[in-house]
Symmetry: D2
Subunit: 310 residues, 4 copies
């Protein structure tokens, strides 16, 4: 096996001159004020080896990456009936498009676009109060990462709530189609809070490791989902994890991954490792520009790809 | 390794009572008159082992599966500039939708929807006459399958041409945006002819084997593409190979695949094998109903999935 | 001039056997419980002659007809700058479509689709509280109709508010594009209340008479708008007043008109009269089925059409 | 009545400094090479008075204005069944949009967008050869204008045919939905030829006079259509005659009108006159920029508006 630490170090060194590229999300001050030159990567193998570089232990707003965890929870609560409420197809449009909802009766195309994740928040609520549901999400992520220090950034959640008119539009629209069962404000409360989870690259790699390891976290021995479900979540990440740049990520990187507007990406090399990257500047699809590039370099150098070996 | 022949036999036996399900394509008589109970599977491993069952050696119209081969040719002729003419993202709409073209300046989303494959036909023409380009495609597929008997069914090509108004609309629309460089009739001629290739499951598995084996056909030793390009074609098949059912196929089967309206599917298990199936009845997305199911059963029983082991 | 009373009587008699046709709006109980066989017409000429028939003096929920009055107010407050916030083109889609908003930067196509009327409510607010704005609207409509008994039905307003998720989606969506200047709840409060105005056919004909009479109400002498503005509001009613059935209404009736989901229609014969009809059953475009037919019969028999004489 | 000649003269004088504004259609050389400073107006009253100014007797390519005449012919041949093939609603999108066709089963929204006019050409063919149908159209327009010198510009027709890929896309798309009954090339041949009619402002005003005069041409005594049909064609012109600028034209001018990309507009003042204008520079909706303005000035000064008097 390649020297994984050396690969991470090389990527970091090669990208150093480019740090700051891309456009940092600026729709809330908490994201707008992030230093655009931050860059971190962490990698945890299914054997438990940990490699990391740069700002890998600094928490950032994981944003949409949290959708992987809430989807996992919804599947745990509702099983395959989850798919009555949200589809499994790439959307072919922007992360926050409402057009598709109108054309398809209020059913979001997949759980990783905003509308789909809002539907998943409704499923996670499952009759509980927003506070209870949010608490449950935090506990679940702490359990996945085996780290009790993980918290939601309340300022981020509050800012999202104050400016999230488009998400409110999506939620109200789905509610109009009878596709949400809880009050719109409750659902949005859950959604805005789980997107405000703050995690480090290393915590995130820990939390995503179960997807690389057949459904169980090999470090803790925690069984999270069946191996079939792990594969299926990976499939969803590959086809839908990068909004309207999912095809591009599959083409260039060749690993299941989920990005967040905070600049983070969680990638999964099945049977091998979870790899995370953080670089705040985004490309035109809303995915981390250098983060995507770093993972492309990583995949090329390790030869890791779900689509064949190098 | 599982007993692959036994798995194929079991799938055949289990599906026998359901043969005839789905809706056979009826837009041209040559497809409409196919016996809906036909069913065949072929599998060729990268080690050269061949397993097969049912009507696996009866030629059928491979239709859109041919788009994998013309894309491979276009990449060979034009390299990455191919992507100036066609995108790499799932379309989020039906195989023959024209809406996306209008919204995105006449550039098709990917090479596997009809518009994208028509753009690829234009690239394959590359200044030649339609007759020359069609001849080149046939020679290429024969080379891939190592089988000089493969031919285009002229009656199918002629019927497609006589009824292909929607494809003519797509081609004229792209031409209006300056996205085709050859006369519309030439491009359509190439397109209709390569879709009319008639192949057996076994021939098709042979022809697709290079995608499972890092770009070279291990049976013939022919080098077709680099391992990187093979992985990338696989990525495109996974994200876009089943039209608006691509996410579903990735979720259920977990292997790159390309379907055709004739009821065939070519699936690729990287590093392991090429697997093909033929069953004419289609589901609502235009993909083989029992063919998809057969591959889902196959993936479950072999544990083959690009998204992790069972 | 034809005997207008006889024409109304004849129309009433001819339609009597069909009363109850169409589908009564059922999204709130206050509308769902209306007797579908209600039918009334009122006509007031610019000379002050009043003709009426049937349930012409029973109040009903005027719903979207109120949009004519709020637009008139917005134009009074903001003049032509109103059109920076809302367009003047037919929408080519359903009354509550959100697709157009996404494609056109959150600017509604015209003031008579829901999104456009919500934008107009924002303009009517003009820094005031919802209560003040609603009060001002009621006073304006009373002034137009010269009738202090006109009120908003609070049960209707409350029901609209409790179920108006789609309108909430539209408002939040526009707010996300920066197209609303007041809090979403305030804007929706104004919108839901003015739609809940209860008026009789006769009151409505009074209130709309200024549009037939060059901007002034000949009965009261009240000057409402300039003759140019009256013509322009009529033009908007003709091109956009019946949602995606506006072309049909222009074709069949040939008069500017505005319909409401409560089954009312206000039509304007410039220089001649205001004509109103109420019949709760709706056609597939959400316009009164028999009301449209009654006006078609009326136009044919009077020979009144803006497009030429009989 | 105002001094109509003086009004035309004044408009001409006031617009003189602005001649050349707007963007001349450049998709075929025959239009691109027109002098952008051309400007003419003609007016013929129902009493037979003729007023004109500027380049009013120079032939120009009437383009889409011809759609009024072919619609009139189709209605003559097929009556109200015409509407089984084409709708009567504003499109809410560009003149050559194909999106609407896909969403609405290949039925164009109205006879004045390109797709709708192509459907009308199919109806005009009615089993004849393109040559016969084109001949019939020319004879009909000559009859309307009482002028045997009117011809089709063959160079324009040929250029349209050579570059009309988008129209070919529309025609093939409709054919795919079974909405055309003649061969696509025949239909397009008719369409491209009638759009290539060359007429002067004065000839055009003559030809459109029947629409102002209840269906008959008062100069010749020729009866063309019933008064009801004349009103209905006017209604269609008002709601759909200026593509996605129809609402704007109704708002500003207040008369039924039909524009062509050659810079001409035919407007109808029911009961009063037909008015035509020609100025080649177009606005962003593809309608004559100064032509629209000239008609707005004309309507303001005459007080002619279907929506009320000044």
């Amino acid at each position: 096996m390649a020297d994984l630490q050396a690969i991470l170090d090389d990527i970091h060194a090669e990208l150093a001159p480019r740090l700051g590229e891309g456009k940092v999300a600026d729709y809330i001050p908490q994201l707008a004020h992030i230093d655009p030159k931050k860059f971190g990567m962490s990698l945890i193998t299914v054997d438990g080896a940990v490699h990391k570089v740069g700002d890998c232990d600094e928490p950032f707003s994981i944003q949409s990456i949290s959708k992987v965890f809430t989807l996992t929870m919804a599947l745990g609560k509702h099983g395959e009936t989850t798919w009555n409420r949200v589809g499994r197809e790439p959307s072919g449009s922007a992360f926050n498009s409402i057009v598709q909802l109108e054309n398809e009766g209020g059913k979001p195309r997949n759980p990783f676009i905003n509308a789909g994740a809002i539907a998943v928040s409704d499923l996670v609520l499952a009759g509980h109060t927003p506070r209870e549901a949010i608490g449950e999400i935090v506990r679940f992520v702490r359990y996945l990462a085996d780290d009790e220090t993980i918290v939601i950034d309340p300022a981020v959640a509050k800012s999202e709530e104050a400016t999230g008119f488009r998400n409110a539009a999506l939620a109200n629209f789905m509610r109009a189609f009878g596709k949400l069962t809880h009050p719109v404000e409750h659902v949005l409360g859950v959604y805005f809070h789980h997107c405000a989870l703050a995690m480090t690259c290393t915590q995130l790699a820990h939390a995503g490791l179960f997807l690389a390891a057949g459904g169980s976290n090999p470090l803790t021995g925690h069984s999270v989902v069946s191996s079939q479900r792990a594969r299926r979540i990976n499939a969803l990440m590959l086809t839908c994890g990068h909004y309207d740049g999912s095809g591009e990520f599959a083409y260039r990187v060749g690993l299941p991954g989920k990005s967040g507007v905070g600049g983070g990406i969680l990638a999964v090399a099945p049977g091998k490792a979870a790899v995370t990257v953080w670089s705040p500047g985004l490309n035109h699809n809303g995915n981390s520009l250098l983060g995507s590039l770093a993972l492309e370099m990583f995949a090329a150098r390790t030869g890791w790809s779900v689509f064949g070996s190098a």
